[in-house]
C-alpha cells in the first residue's frame, strides 16, 4: 500500500482524484457550510460538542433513534419477503411476462410527492377503500397506515425494488456451471437455492438491502405522510424548516444520520468481506431456466400477482384519482372524467422534457461515476480509495433541503461565464444536485456488479495485449452491464420524482421538473386531480424508459450469445 503509485495505476488515480474533488465541491463543502452550526455553541458561537451531548440526553431523540432503527430493520425484512420470490421466479424459471414483472417492479420507486400520499390514504387509510370494505363486510378495520407499523408497510412497498433490481441482476450474473456442479452432487430445490444460488447472489442482495436500510433510516417522505414525528429524519426536517427558529438540533441530527448511515454501510461491507463472489465463465450467463409444472405455475403466478397487486396498489389508487371527479370517504371516486388530463396537458410537456433531461443526465453521470468509483475501489490499491465509496454513499443521508441550502449558499455568488447567471439559479445545478443525491443507488449496483466479475478475465485480456483502458471498455463494462443498467434505472426513476432539493433550486418556472408541477397543483383543493394526472404521466414515462432499457440489454445480450456459440457449446 505504501509504495508509490505504479504507472498502471496512474490513470485510475487521476480519475479517483477528479471524482474526489467533485464530491468535495458538490457534496462535502455545501453540506459542511450548512451543518457547521451543529458544532457551534448556540450561546457563544464557539466550537463545541455540547449539542451532541444534548442530543443523547434528550429522551425524544433517543426514542426517535430507536424508532428509526426498528423501522429500517423491519422494512428490510418485509422488502426481502416481497422481492426474493419475484426475483427468483423471474430469473429461474421460464416465466412468460418476466420482463413485464421486472419493469413493474421498478414502478413503486416512482412515488410522486404528495399525490402518492393522498392515493395511499384513500386506499389504505383508516377510512380508505380497503377499510371501508372490511368494515362493511366484516365489521373490523386494519390500521395499515397508523404509527410505526404503517411506516414499515409503506416503506417496504416503496423501496423493495432496490433489493429486487440488484438481486435480479446478481442472479442473472451467476455462473451456470456452479449450479450444475451442485446438481451433479445431488443438491436441488430449496437446498440448492439456500446453499449455492443465494450465497452467490449475495453481493446483489446486500447492495439492495443496505440501500433499503439506509434509505428507510434516512427517509423523510413516508413518516411525514403518515404524520409520524418520532423518528430521526422527520425530527431533523421539522427543526430545520421551522420558520424563525434557529435550533441547531436539526443539523445535529443530520450529522448523526450521515454517521449512522456510513456505519451501516461499513457493516454491510464487513458481511461480504473475505469472500469471493466472482465467477469466471460468462458465456451462457445466468441460472438455468426450467419450465414449471402446471400446479407450480399456478402457485407461482398467484404469488407473483398477489405481490404485484399489493405493491402497485398506490399507483392503482393514483390512476383512479387522476380520472376521478370527487373521491371522499368512499370506496371509489364518485364519477370519472378526462378533465384533469386536459388541464395538465397544456403545461405538462415542458415539465416532462425538463424531467427527462434532468433525470436522464443525472442517471448517466451516476452510472459513469459509479462504475469509475467501483473500479477504483475494487481494482486498485490507491490509498484512501474506500473513502470515495463512503463519501458518495454519505449523500444518501443528507437531507435534500440541506443540500439545496448549501448550494444556494455556496454557488449563488458564482456567476457562470457566457450566460451571466449565478450557478445556483442555472438549471445545471439541479442536474448536479440530482446526480449527487442519486449517486449512492447507482454506486451500490455498480459495486455489486463488479464484485461478480472475476479479475482473471481482465488479466486474460491484458495478457493477450489489451491496454488497461481497452480492458475496461471491452471486458469490464460489458460484463457489468446488468448492474450498470440496474443503477441507471433506480437513479433515473427516483431522480424523476425528487423534490426536496429541487424546490430550493428551481429559479424560473421554465426550469421546473414534474415533481415541482405536482407540488404546485397539490397546494389547492382543486389541484388534486391534475396533480394525480401529472403523477401518472411521470410513472408512465419512467416505466416506459425502464422497459426500453431492459429490452435493449436483453437484445444486446442475445446478440452477444448468438455471436459466441462456441462458449455456449464448450460448457456442457
Amino acid at each position: 500500500m505504501a509504495q508509490p503509485i505504479s504507472s498502471v495505476q496512474r490513470g485510475p488515480a487521476t480519475i479517483g482524484i477528479i471524482i474526489a474533488l467533485f464530491l468535495i465541491l458538490f457534496l462535502a463543502l455545501p453540506v459542511l457550510k450548512v451543518i457547521f452550526v451543529a458544532f457551534q455553541d448556540p450561546a457563544t458561537g464557539e466550537f463545541t460538542f455540547i449539542n451532541f451531548v444534548d442530543f443523547f440526553n434528550t429522551s425524544l431523540f433517543q426514542e426517535s433513534f430507536f424508532n428509526s432503527f426498528y423501522v429500517a430493520i423491519m422494512s428490510v425484512l418485509v422488502a426481502t419477503l416481497i422481492s426474493v420470490p419475484l426475483a427468483y421466479f423471474t430469473t429461474r424459471f421460464n416465466f412468460s411476462g418476466a420482463l413485464i414483472i421486472q419493469t413493474l417492479g421498478i414502478i413503486p420507486l416512482i412515488m410522486p410527492p404528495f399525490v402518492g400520499a393522498v392515493a395511499m390514504q384513500l386506499l389504505f387509510g383508516s377510512n380508505g377503500s380497503v377499510n371501508l370494505l372490511l368494515d362493511e363486510w366484516f365489521g373490523f378495520t386494519i390500521p395499515f397506515m397508523e404509527g410505526l407499523n404503517g411506516v414499515i408497510f409503506v416503506e417496504s412497498i416503496h423501496y423493495f425494488p432496490f433489493i429486487l433490481i440488484n438481486l435480479s441482476a446478481a442472479l442473472v450474473n451467476i455462473d451456470r456451471s456452479m449450479e450444475e456442479a451442485a446438481q451433479n452432487l445431488g443438491s436441488s430445490g430449496l437446498r440448492l437455492f439456500r446453499r449455492i444460488v443465494f450465497p452467490l447472489a449475495m453481493p446483489g442482495y446486500v447492495a439492495g438491502a443496505a440501500l433499503v436500510f439506509i434509505k428507510v433510516f434516512d427517509d423523510l417522505g413516508t413518516p411525514l405522510l403518515l404524520n409520524v414525528n418520532n423518528m430521526l429524519a422527520p425530527q431533523a426536517f421539522l427543526r430545520i424548516t421551522s420558520i424563525g427558529i434557529s435550533d441547531p438540533m436539526g443539523y445535529v441530527i443530520s450529522v448523526i444520520l450521515v454517521g449512522f448511515s456510513l456505519l451501516s454501510l461499513y457493516v454491510s461491507l464487513l458481511a461480504l468481506k473475505g469472500k469471493d463472489y466472482a465467477t469466471t465463465q460468462k458465456g451462457g450467463g445466468g441460472l438455468m431456466k426450467r419450465d414449471l409444472r402446471f400446479w407450480e405455475k399456478i402457485g407461482c403466478y398467484s404469488l407473483v400477482i398477489f405481490i404485484l397487486m399489493l405493491v402497485l396498489s398506490p399507483h392503482i389508487g393514483l390512476f383512479l384519482l387522476s380520472f376521478g371527479t370527487i373521491w371522499s370517504y368512499a370506496v371509489l371516486p364518485d364519477a370519472y372524467t378526462f378533465d384533469h388530463y386536459i388541464t395538465v396537458f397544456s403545461s405538462a410537456s415542458q415539465y416532462i422534457t425538463n424531467t427527462l433531461l434532468y433525470a436522464g443526465l443525472a442517471a448517466t453521470f451516476d452510472v459513469i461515476l459509479g462504475t469509475a468509483i467501483a473500479y477504483v475501489v475494487l481494482r486498485t490499491g490507491i490509498r484512501g480509495r474506500k473513502w470515495l465509496d463512503y463519501g458518495a454513499t454519505a449523500a444518501l443521508a443528507v437531507p435534500g433541503v440541506v443540500l439545496g441550502i448549501g448550494y444556494l449558499r455556496l454557488f449563488h455568488s458564482v456567476d457562470v461565464p457566457l450566460i451571466d447567471k449565478p450557478l445556483a439559479s442555472w438549471w445545471v445545478i439541479i442536474v448536479i444536485a440530482l446526480t449527487i443525491r442519486r449517486l449512492p443507488y447507482a454506486l451500490r449496483s455498480c459495486m455489486a456488479a463488479l464484485q461478480q466479475v472475476s479479475i482473471m478475465l481482465e488479466e486474460a485480456a491484458e495478457n493477450v495485449g489489451a491496454t488497461k483502458s481497452r480492458t475496461v471498455w471491452r471486458i469490464v463494462v460489458p460484463l457489468m452491464s446488468g448492474g450498470i443498467l440496474a443503477g441507471f434505472v433506480t437513479s433515473f426513476a427516483t431522480a424523476s420524482v425528487e423534490l426536496s432539493a429541487t424546490i430550493m433550486l428551481v429559479a424560473t418556472e421554465s426550469d421546473a421538473p414534474l415533481a415541482f408541477g405536482i407540488y404546485e397543483y397539490m397546494q389547492s383543493a382543486s389541484g388534486r386531480g391534475p396533480g394525480a394526472a401529472l403523477g401518472i404521466i411521470a410513472v408512465l414515462f419512467v416505466g416506459f424508459g425502464t422497459y426500453m432499457s431492459h429490452r435493449i440489454i436483453e437484445r444486446s445480450k442475445r446478440a452477444r450469445e448468438a455471436s459466441v456459440p462456441v462458449t455456449e457449446g464448450a460448457t456442457p
Binding site: P42, A43, T44, G45, I50, N51, N57, T58, L60, V118, Q121, L122, G125, S126, N127, G128, L224, N227, N229, N230, P234, L238, T241, S242, I243, G244, I245, S246, D247, P248, M249, T325, I326, S328, Y329, A330, V401, I405, L408, R409, H412, S413, P422, S425, I503, M504, V506, A507, T508, E509, Y519, E520, Y521, M522, Q523, S524, A525, S526, G527, R528
Partner: protein, 444 residues
C-alpha cells in the same frame, strides 16, 4: 417663490408618474407560496394590463421561500414575496430583506376585525384577509353519526375522539395565530388547557397546513382546524365539506412585500397597487381563490353567502389581538405546542381516552372519590411547564432565536435542554393522568 416650488413639485410629480408608467415592463419575479389557481389568475390579469411585462411566479413553500431569499440576498433577483403568514414577513423584515412601500390606492381601512391590515412599520401590506375556523366532511360525519362542531369548545367533546386534525403552529404561521388567539382570548392557562383538551381528540397533527383540508377532503379524518379559504375552496371544488367560523377567531391579513434591491421595483409597486385596486380585489372572489377582500366595497359583488367581516362584526372581533405580545413569545408558544402535543400526541391521546372512559362510567353516578381522581387527572394534563411571565420574558424567548447581535453576546440555556425538561414533565404527567383515570374507572 411659492409658485415656483409648486411648479417644481408638479413637474416632479409629472415626471414621476410618466417614469412609473414607462418603467412597468421587463420581468417581475415574485416568490410565492400560493397555488396556481391564485397566481395564474393574477398573473394573467396583470400582464394584460401591462403588455410589456412578464410575471415570473416562483413557487416555494413559505419556509423554503424565506430561506431562498435569505441565501440569495447578496445577488438578489427576486422582486416580491407574496404569502399568507404575517410571521414569515416578520422574519424577512428582521433579516433586513424587505423595503418599505406605500400604496396610493385609497379605500382600504386600517383594520380588518381586530387586526391591522398593513405592517405598522410599512414593510408589508395586506391585500386580503383570512380567518380560522372548522371544516368538516359531511359524508364522514353522517357515517359516524356525528354532528358538526361549530365552536372550539365543541371539539373537546368525547364523541369527536380520533376525528380531528390540525397542523402545528411551528409549521404554519396561520395555525400559530389561531393557537395564540385562543390563548389570548381565554388567558394563558385556560387557553392552553383548552388546546390540550382539543388535542386529546386529534387523529393527527399534519406537517403541512394543507394536510388538514387534504385529510378532511379525503375523509381520513372528519373535522379539521383550517384557514377559511382552504375550507371554502374545497367546497367550491365539489368536495362534500362545510366550513364555519367559531365565535373566537381572528382575521389575519394575507400579505405582499417588496424585496430589498429587487431588479424591477416599479413593476413591483404596480403589482401591489393592482392587488389593492377594484379589479384586483374582485379577483379574490373567484371560487377557486375565495379570500376576503380588504376593500369593503368589493363585497357588494360577492355571492350571497360570502362572509363579510366589515359588516358581520361576529367574525374576527371577539378577541382584541395583541400583536406585540404574540411576537414576543412566538417561538416559545410553537415549541410548547410541539413538546406538549405534536411530539407526545400518543401519550396525550391515551390519557384523554382514559379520562373520557372514566367520565362516561361516572355519568349518572355520584362517586366523590372517582370524581376527584378525574379532576386531578385533568389538572395533570393541563399543567404547563412554564408560567405566562416566563413565556413573555424576552430573555427566555431569546433561547429559541439565539440572535446574537455581537459575537460577545451570551444567551443562557439551550433550546434542546429546555425542551428536554418540559418533555420529562409532560410525559410523566400524561402517564400519571392515565393511571388516575383508570383507577377512577375501576372504582365505578
Amino acid at each position: 417663490m411659492k409658485y415656483i416650488s409648486i411648479l417644481c413639485a408638479a413637474a416632479l410629480g409629472l415626471s414621476l408618474i410618466s417614469s412609473a408608467a414607462m418603467a412597468v415592463e421587463g420581468t417581475l419575479t415574485i416568490v410565492t407560496s400560493y397555488p396556481t389557481d391564485t397566481t395564474g389568475t393574477f398573473k394573467k390579469a396583470f400582464e394584460s394590463k401591462y403588455p410589456g411585462l412578464k410575471v415570473e411566479m416562483l413557487k416555494k413553500k413559505t419556509s423554503a421561500g424565506i430561506k431562498y431569499l435569505q441565501e440569495t440576498s447578496d445577488n438578489n433577483n427576486s422582486d416580491m414575496f407574496w404569502a399568507s403568514a404575517p410571521d414569515a414577513f416578520e422574519v424577512l423584515k428582521d433579516s433586513d430583506l424587505l423595503v418599505k412601500y406605500k400604496s396610493n390606492v385609497s379605500g382600504i381601512p386600517e383594520k380588518v376585525g381586530a387586526f391591522p391590515i398593513n405592517d405598522p412599520d410599512g414593510y408589508y401590506l395586506g391585500f386580503a384577509a383570512s380567518g380560522y375556523g372548522i371544516m368538516w366532511n359531511t359524508r364522514y360525519l353522517k357515517a359516524k353519526k356525528l354532528l358538526p362542531a361549530k365552536e372550539w369548545a365543541d371539539l373537546k367533546k368525547s364523541e369527536y375522539f380520533g376525528h380531528v386534525g390540525m397542523s402545528a403552529p411551528s409549521r404554519s404561521g396561520t395555525t400559530h395565530l389561531t393557537v395564540e388567539t385562543l390563548i389570548q382570548g381565554l388567558g394563558w392557562d385556560a387557553g392552553w388547557a383548552e388546546w390540550k383538551a382539543i388535542a386529546g381528540n386529534f387523529k393527527t397533527v399534519t406537517e403541512r397546513s394543507f394536510g388538514v383540508p387534504d385529510g378532511v377532503n379525503s375523509g381520513n379524518f372528519g373535522l379539521g382546524v383550517v384557514i377559511d379559504f382552504f375550507g371554502l375552496s374545497s367546497q367550491a371544488s365539489g368536495f362534500p365539506v362545510e366550513f364555519v367560523y367559531p365565535t373566537v377567531t381572528t382575521l389575519v391579513p394575507a400579505n405582499i412585500a417588496l424585496v430589498k434591491n429587487g431588479p424591477n421595483p416599479e413593476a413591483a409597486g404596480a403589482f401591489v397597487d393592482f392587488l389593492l385596486s377594484t379589479q384586483g380585489q374582485e379577483l379574490l372572489l373567484d371560487p377557486k381563490i375565495r379570500r376576503l377582500p380588504v376593500n369593503p366595497e368589493t363585497y357588494a359583488k360577492a355571492p350571497a353567502d360570502f362572509p363579510n367581516p366589515f359588516k358581520d362584526s361576529s367574525i374576527g372581533s371577539a378577541v382584541k389581538f395583541d400583536l406585540a405580545l404574540s411576537k414576543n413569545r412566538y417561538n416559545v408558544v410553537n415549541s410548547l405546542f410541539d413538546v406538549m402535543i405534536t411530539y407526545r400526541l400518543n401519550d396525550l391521546r391515551e390519557a384523554t381516552k382514559a379520562i373520557q372512559d372514566a367520565e362516561k362510567a361516572l355519568a349518572g353516578q355520584s362517586n366523590a372519590g372517582a370524581k376527584k381522581l378525574i379532576t386531578e387527572a385533568r389538572a395533570l394534563i393541563s399543567e404547563l411547564p412554564i408560567d405566562e411571565a416566563t413565556a413573555n420574558d424576552p430573555d427566555f424567548s431569546a433561547i429559541f432565536t439565539k440572535k446574537r447581535k455581537k459575537a460577545t453576546d451570551k444567551v443562557a440555556g439551550r433550546q434542546a435542554e429546555v425542551e428536554q425538561k418540559w418533555d420529562e414533565m409532560v410525559k410523566a404527567n400524561y402517564a400519571k393522568a392515565k393511571a388516575l383515570a383508570e383507577k377512577a374507572k375501576s372504582m365505578l
